[in-house]
């Protein structure tokens, strides 16, 4: 069962939330950011090349121009492979765990899986981010030493940063599944 809705992130950009309900115990949430725009790419390239041309007229060394081309290419590749995140996915499977995947613009995917035994709860927290107060969804991990303590807070959707309305949707679905899990683990 698939469902798509559009929300906005904390800066006002548009986000698309795709929800897939595979089964009552397995749900996936996929947030997509807007792609790299041609306008910003052209602007950056033109700035860099104009600066390089300016330096060239000062120094009369053609190495500067080739260096500028090289830097632009490498910079673009590096940006696409290491910085620009296209999609962030949260997959929650009852009795297995929670998986977070970030897909970069170059196709690289980085995945983290947290086992259900380590998850204490999923909550929405507030944070002060520069001059704003934002909400973010995070997973609380159990402390192996202290049964009621929290060892780590893992934030989810760090790059896409959706607003509260989107977070509430995801939060509700996660809590349904976690309630299942708690009921199942409570009964012998």
């Amino acid at each position: 069962m698939e469902d798509e809705q559009s929300f906005s992130d904390i800066c006002g950009g548009r986000l698309a939330l795709q929800r897939r309900y595979y089964s009552p115990s397995c749900r996936e949430f996929c947030l997509s950011c807007p792609r790299l725009s041609l306008r910003s790419l052209t602007a950056v390239t033109c700035t860099v090349w104009l600066a390089a041309y300016g330096l060239f007229t000062l120094c009369e060394n053609s190495m500067i121009l080739s260096a500028a081309i090289f830097i632009t290419l490498l910079g673009l590749l590096g940006y696409l492979h290491f910085v620009k995140i296209d999609q962030e996915t949260l997959l929650i499977i009852d009795s297995l765990g929670i998986q977070m995947t970030s897909s970069y613009a170059s196709g690289k995917e980085s995945t983290t899986f947290i086992e259900m035994g380590k998850v204490k709860d999923v909550v929405i927290n507030e944070a002060i981010y520069m001059q704003k107060v934002i909400y973010y969804l995070c997973i609380l991990l159990k402390d192996p030493v202290e049964p009621h303590g929290i060892s780590q807070v893992v934030p989810v959707f760090q790059s896409t940063k959706p607003r509260l309305d989107c977070l509430i949707e995801v939060y509700r679905s996660c809590q349904e599944i976690l309630a299942h899990q708690k009921a199942a683990s409570a009964s012998p």
Binding site: S25, E28, I93, S95, L96, F113, A183, A184
Partner: protein
């Protein structure tokens, strides 16, 4: 869509629970109170195997069944139980028959159904899994039945299928390794937490994978070996040859180590030179590493095996780079060019130093120095420099031969060549080191004198017994002399301090250059190249964890997931497997370094572990 009929059975089974295909009804109504979710870890290689029995391990804490192999018909139940007992003996992992596997062509093979269900009576297991796949459409269906199930009626056991690649899971190592309790005799529990239990189970059941469905054994199994046993002739030959080769090389290395520890090298001048040259340190380090690699003992743990492999690859790369450097040096008479360029460079450096001393003897940077002390120190250093230049000129005819022979040491490795270069730099700048030592000693003496006389000025003294400052009453003549000396030392301080500063900066420059070379040597020494290569070419071998992917899902069919290995990031690979380096790291922090410089104590940046303090 197929619908299963409710079945009521008499006899041993009191009731059976509904299978997943009829879960559609409850799903449409919304989430209902389901029973336990049973996770079945199924190897991808068995998805195309013929019908048979499922053999594996049941982990009750996570209600998951790890299926390891499929036993095909015909079989004798006693023999199956014997095989499982053997595997239990070998790997201390409690395997059992978990259920039945049915891979059928069409609906017509109904006769297999009751037969499979009857098997549940022979191999009783709680819960009893029944996995089924249709050959034509590839649709899956599963059931998990319990004899003594939950007493609430209408509660169903859901089955979730998790596919895993058995070969990859068998060969991979989790980082950090799951800490298991010590295996005790007869104790079959492997209590690894969470998904590490799956890895652990597969790793311990190696005895099960020895025979497969194509062997003529009593029991025919299907597992990852059925896809084709991989072997390489070169690898097998290398394994056979490695025994005698290791023995030979171990004997050779022990001979060399014995020669090294013989009495000749314990004599004072040789042992002193030995400890100061970094080449010797590097050679010793390499010898130790080679002894580790070629030792005749088998590696106890995977970490040790990785270390041996890393050391071997590092040594091979080192030697390869060294030989490349050697061929470059000895071609086109580069050694001759280098030797010709060396003496003029040394002359040039000496001239620059002379200019510097002349500048210090005048009014450096507008500061007014004490004329007499200035002249004394300046002339002393100039004479020292003159001696050094004569010495270098004396050596100049032999330099080419020395360089040629020293260049041959590059065949032992690039690190040895770099260490030799560092030593040559140290020898050529020996006069700077001497100047630094003289300046530092003078300055240190002056500072000690000043601090002691300052205490006298205030009427205190240093109590050596109690290691503290005590008050003391001095006589008048003691105070008089002390004050005089204090003023003399104080007004001579700027001159000495300036010489000390200049020579310390020069020394630090040389130390920085040597430091860079040592850093490079450390890099080649400690980089785990084999682990990085493994991470590049076989990423599943080094696992940071797992990741799941939801496979095509149809309504009414069980949820199917694919479990893949999440490889370790490169940074963590380097961190986990880096080799221990020579140990030539600076032993003091920036704070203590500044303190030593201020008080004029000599600094020795390359203090080896186990060296006595000078």
């Amino acid at each position: 869509m197929k619908r299963r009929a409710h079945k009521e059975r008499r006899g041993r089974r009191t009731r059976s629970l509904l299978g997943c295909s009829s879960c559609l009804g409850c799903w449409e109504r919304g989430p209902s109170p389901h029973g336990m979710v049973v996770k079945a870890f199924f190897p991808t290689c068995c998805a195309s195997a013929d019908s048979g029995l499922l053999v594996g391990r049941w982990v009750p804490e996570q209600s998951s069944a790890v299926v390891l192999a499929v036993v095909h018909f015909p079989f004798i139940p006693i023999q199956v139980k014997e095989l499982l007992a053997q595997v239990h003996q070998a790997g201390r992992v409690g395997l059992a028959v978990l259920g039945t596997w049915c891979h059928r062509r069409q609906e017509a093979e109904e006769r297999l159904g009751p037969f499979l269900e009857g098997l549940g009576a022979i191999f009783s297991h709680e819960p009893w899994l029944q996995l089924c796949r249709e050959r034509t459409s590839g649709l899956w269906s599963c059931k998990a039945t319990r004899q003594q199930g939950p007493t609430r009626p209408g509660v169903k056991d859901q089955v979730m299928l998790v596919f895993y690649d058995q070969r990859q899971v068998l060969l991979s190592q989790l980082h950090p390794p799951a800490a298991l309790p010590d295996r005790q005799a007869g104790d079959a529990t492997a209590s690894a937490e969470g998904l590490a239990a799956v890895f652990d189970t597969v790793a311990r059941s190696e005895a099960l994978f020895r025979s497969d469905c194509f062997d003529e054994g009593p029991v025919r199994l299907s597992h990852w070996q059925s896809e084709g046993v991989e072997a390489s002739i070169l690898a097998e030959l290398a394994k056979r040859a490695s025994g005698p080769v290791c023995l030979l090389l171990a004997c050779l290395l022990s001979l060399i180590s014995a020669a090294r520890t013989c009495r000749v090298f314990k004599l004072r001048p040789l042992s002193f030179i030995w400890s100061k040259l970094s080449v010797c340190g590097q050679l010793g380090h390499r010898l130790e590493q080679l002894a580790l690699v070629f030792s005749t003992q088998k590696a106890e743990s995977p970490a040790q095996l990785m270390r041996k492999a890393n050391v071997l690859v590092s040594v091979l790369l080192d030697v390869a780079l060294g030989l490349a450097l050697l061929s470059w040096l000895h071609g086109k008479d580069r050694i001759g060019q280098l030797a010709e360029a060396l003496v003029p460079v040394a002359d040039h450096v000496a001239e620059a130093l002379q200019h510097l001393l002349q500048w210090l003897m005048g009014a450096p940077a507008g500061l007014k120095m004490n004329r007499a002390l200035d002249q004394v120190l300046g002339r002393f250093f100039l004479y020292h420099l003159h001696l050094w230049i004569s010495y270098v000129h004396l050596l100049s005819p032999f330099i080419e031969h020395i360089l040629w022979h020293v260049g041959l040491s590059a065949c032992l490795g690039l690190t040895v060549a770099l260490s030799t270069l560092s030593d040559i730099i140290a020898l050529l700048t020996f006069h700077i080191y001497c100047f630094y030592v003289y300046g530092a000693r003078l300055y240190c003496l002056k500072i000690c004198g000043l601090s002691s006389l300052w205490r006298l000025f205030r009427g205190k003294k240093w109590n050596v017994l109690r290691q503290r400052v005590d008050s003391c009453s001095y006589d008048l003549d003691q105070l008089f002399i002390g004050t005089l000396l204090f003023t003399v030392l104080l007004f001579l301080l700027p001159t000495t301090a300036l010489y000390y500063l200049v020579f310390t900066l020069l020394r630090l420059l040389v130390v920085a250059v040597q430091g860079l070379i040592h850093l490079l040597v450390d890099l080649v020494n400690s980089l785990p190249l084999y682990s990085l290569g493994l991470r590049l070419c076989r990423p599943y071998r080094l696992a940071a964890g797992v990741k799941f992917r939801v496979l095509e899902h149809e309504a009414g069919r069980p949820l199917r997931l694919l479990m893949q290995i999440n490889p370790l990031p490169y940074g963590r690979v380097v961190h986990a497997y880096r080799l221990p380096s020579c140990g030539c790291h600076p032993t003091h922090s920036w704070g203590s370094l500044c303190r030593k410089l201020f008080f004029g104590e000599l600094i020795y940046p390359w203090r080896q572990r186990g060296d006595k303090q000078d």
